[in-house]
């Protein structure tokens, strides 16, 4: 296996004519990191990945892998390997020949190449299917073969373009655990593009939230979830109430996690009510969604402020509220996280 290498982007820009797809982003991904590029479609995450892979030219800036500038090199000489969105397995070749493809292109003997391809298929537990064509495999099996085909090139970093989007939801959860396991075993960096915050949180050591060609926030899933840096991140990552004219100290917008907001029955308010110093908003229950371990209650406060409160399932049914009931949503000031950055 190759030495794992750190990836660094320095003011990388991608322009298509007059449109700027990626706007001077800088990023450092340490060796052996599972990194997710997260953002809505058109945010520049795929362009960024494709520039690292060498399938898109860099308009400006530098890409370094293991300290070496790679943005002038052809894809195969960068030490990167890419797994494509629909895997792009060659439909006319069986699994073994797909995996052995890069060896054949490099002029490695047929027997030697097949031997190595078999070993790689064993690694992804697909050796039993070596003679099958891609069309005869399930989505999850195709992903494993695509992984084997990428890994046989001994990459120092693996680039994955929405690898789970072609799978059904059930399989998606299983395959993402598999991806995580492979990354840990191989100890090389994976850079994984996704628009699913759930996927990013489940997989990543490092989440890079992108929007409009720029990086909004870089951090561990916990950091990003607990301290979203901007309105955009708070909204995109989900699970937060964004209050634009927040009564916090700053007077700017704040974000409060849904599960850190408490529901207080309007009737119990009064003398000796809930903890002092809490911020309260009164309103009416506008929606109740049972979600299993939590019940999601929507509270219509004021004219155009809607708050979402995640109440633990037990707590909700111990003290249930109904649609239209007057309620008060309350949270501690220290749980309100001030947001910076432009509107979203």
């Amino acid at each position: 296996m190759s030495e794992p290498a750190g990836l660094e982007l320095a003011a990388v820009t991608k322009r298509y004519g007059r449109t700027v797809a990626v706007d001077g982003i800088s990023l450092r991904v340490p060796a052996g990191t599972y990194c997710c590029l997260l953002g809505p479609s058109g945010c520049g995450k795929t362009s960024t990945l494709r520039m690292v892979a060498g399938h898109e030219e860099v308009s400006d800036g530098d890409i370094m892998l293991g300290g070496e500038v790679i943005n002038g090199l052809p894809p195969a000489r960068r030490g990167t390997a890419m797994m494509f969105q629909n895997y792009a397995l060659f439909p006319h070749l069986d699994c073994l020949d797909n995996v052995a493809f890069s060896l054949k292109m490099r002029g490695i003997g047929k027997a030697d190449g097949r031997e190595r391809a078999h070993r790689m298929l064993q690694l992804v537990e697909m050796d039993a299917y070596a003679g099958r064509l891609p069309a005869q495999l399930s989505g999850g099996q195709q992903q494993r073969v695509a992984l084997a085909r990428a890994l046989i090139t001994d990459p120092r970093i693996l680039l994955l373009d929405e690898p789970l989007s072609a799978l059904d939801p059930f399989l998606r959860v299983r395959m993402r655990a598999e991806l995580r396991r492979f990354q840990k075993d191989l100890a090389i960096s994976f850079v994984h593009v996704t628009h699913s915050q759930e996927e990013a949180m489940a997989l990543a050591d490092l989440i890079v939230v992108m929007n409009g060609g720029r990086i909004e926030q870089v951090g561990s899933p916990r950091e990003v979830f607990n301290a979203p840096s901007s309105l955009f991140v708070a909204r995109f990552i989900g699970g937060h109430n964004v209050i634009e004219d927040g009564p916090g100290a700053t007077g700017g917008a704040v974000a409060v996690r849904n599960d850190l907001v408490r529901l207080v029955d309007a009737a119990t308010l009064g003398g000796g009510g809930p903890g002092d110093g809490e911020i309260r908003r009164s309103g009416r229950v506008a929606g109740i969604e049972f979600q299993g371990s939590v019940v999601r209650v929507t509270v219509a406060a004021d004219a155009d402020l809607e708050l979402t409160v995640d109440v633990a399932e037990r707590a909700f049914f111990d003290n249930p509220v109904g649609l239209g009931d007057p309620v008060v949503a309350a949270w501690k000031p220290e749980d309100a996280h001030a947001l910076t950055g432009g509107s979203a």
């Binding site: 892979a53 060498g54 399938h55 052809p74 894809p75 195969a76 990167t80 390997a81 890419m82 494509f84 969105q85 629909n86 792009a88 397995l89 060659f90 439909p91 006319h92 069986d94 493809f101 890069s102 054949k104 292109m105 490099r106 039993a128 299917y129 003679g131 099958r132 064509l133 069309a135 005869q136 085909r149 990428a150 090139t153």
Partner: protein, 299 residues
């Protein structure tokens, strides 16, 4: 199906369709039937006995023209046109995947060749080659060996080949457009990612994937050339292709022999189409066999 009685619309449409099919295949069927006319039979129904008499006559030769030489010429020309159509269409199809300066006008000029009346194209080609002949003759003053026995630059594989390509290439290009429209570029990127050169990508990835469609292009190239008449008429030179001979024979031959000839040429077309289909089937079977793990205890 449901047990409901068919409405009037169904029967009307069925009748229209039946008439259409009859119109499409009726003439061919009539010719094939009449080619088995008895020795005393004429050019029209009724059949006067059934025999291979006219095929035997055909085999001996038709009047003064060497029909089998024309047949061989048509096959040879058809095969060359087929090969060139495939190679040039693929190359052009690859080129048109990128926008290049003048790609729009070039496309329209190419396809316009289908719109211009064939006979005009043919006349034009004939005129061009006559100009070329004049040039060659003019140079004869300086290079006498050049015009020694020279008659014309027109011929089966010069002007004739060109005329046929003006007909087959636009079709080939249009098919390639459809093929590459459906072609997923990520296959090529994956190949590049795996270290394939541009040529290796084409040879080991693009070509095998589009291969089955190329059989279709080849088939088009051959059959369009094999029964081409109008474009060949003024541009073929001294010798004739089979359709040209056939046209000549319709005015001079007054026996069912001409029907026998029609039956043979139709049969050749069918054989070519059948071969192409068999080739596609064979390719598909081979791939399925390769991909099959039946009997290996797999689930």
């Amino acid at each position: 199906m449901t047990g409901q009685p068919r409405g009037a619309a169904f029967w009307i449409l069925a009748l229209v369709f039946a008439l259409f099919v009859l119109f499409l295949y009726g003439p061919t069927i009539a010719i094939v039937l009449l080619s088995f006319q008895g020795p005393d039979g004429g050019l029209t129904f009724p059949m006067n006995g059934v025999s291979f008499h006219w095929f035997a006559k055909l085999y001996e030769g038709v009047g003064v023209v060497d029909i089998w030489a024309a047949f061989r010429r048509s096959i040879r020309l058809g095969l060359v046109v087929m090969g060139l159509t495939v190679v040039l269409s693929v190359a052009a199809g690859l080129a048109f995947r990128r926008r290049f300066a003048g790609s729009g006008p070039l496309f329209f000029v190419t396809v316009a060749s289908l719109i211009v009346p064939s006979i005009c194209v043919s006349l034009g080609i004939g005129l061009e080659f006559r100009l070329l002949d004049d040039q060659v003759n003019a140079m004869g003053g300086d290079f006498p060996w050049l015009v020694d026995g020279f008659t014309t630059t027109m011929g089966l594989f010069t002007s004739g080949l060109g005329a046929h390509l003006t007909w087959t290439l636009p079709f080939g290009l249009l098919i390639m457009f459809a093929v590459f429209n459906r072609f997923d570029r990520s296959y090529e990127e994956a190949a590049r990612d795996l270290g394939a050169t541009a040529w290796q990508t084409f040879r080991y990835v693009v070509l095998p994937i589009i291969g089955p469609s190329l059989i279709g292009v080849a088939l088009f190239g051959f059959t369009l050339s094999y029964d081409e008449l109008a474009r060949s008429s003024q541009a073929i030179g001294d010798v004739n292709t089979l359709p040209l001979e056939l046209q000549g024979l319709t005015t001079t031959v007054t026996t069912p022999e001409i029907y026998a000839l029609g039956t043979v040429t139709t049969a050749v077309s069918f054989v070519v189409i059948g071969l192409a289909l068999a080739l596609i089937l064979w390719a598909r079977r081979r791939q399925e066999r390769r991909g099959s793990d039946a009997g290996q205890g797999m689930v």
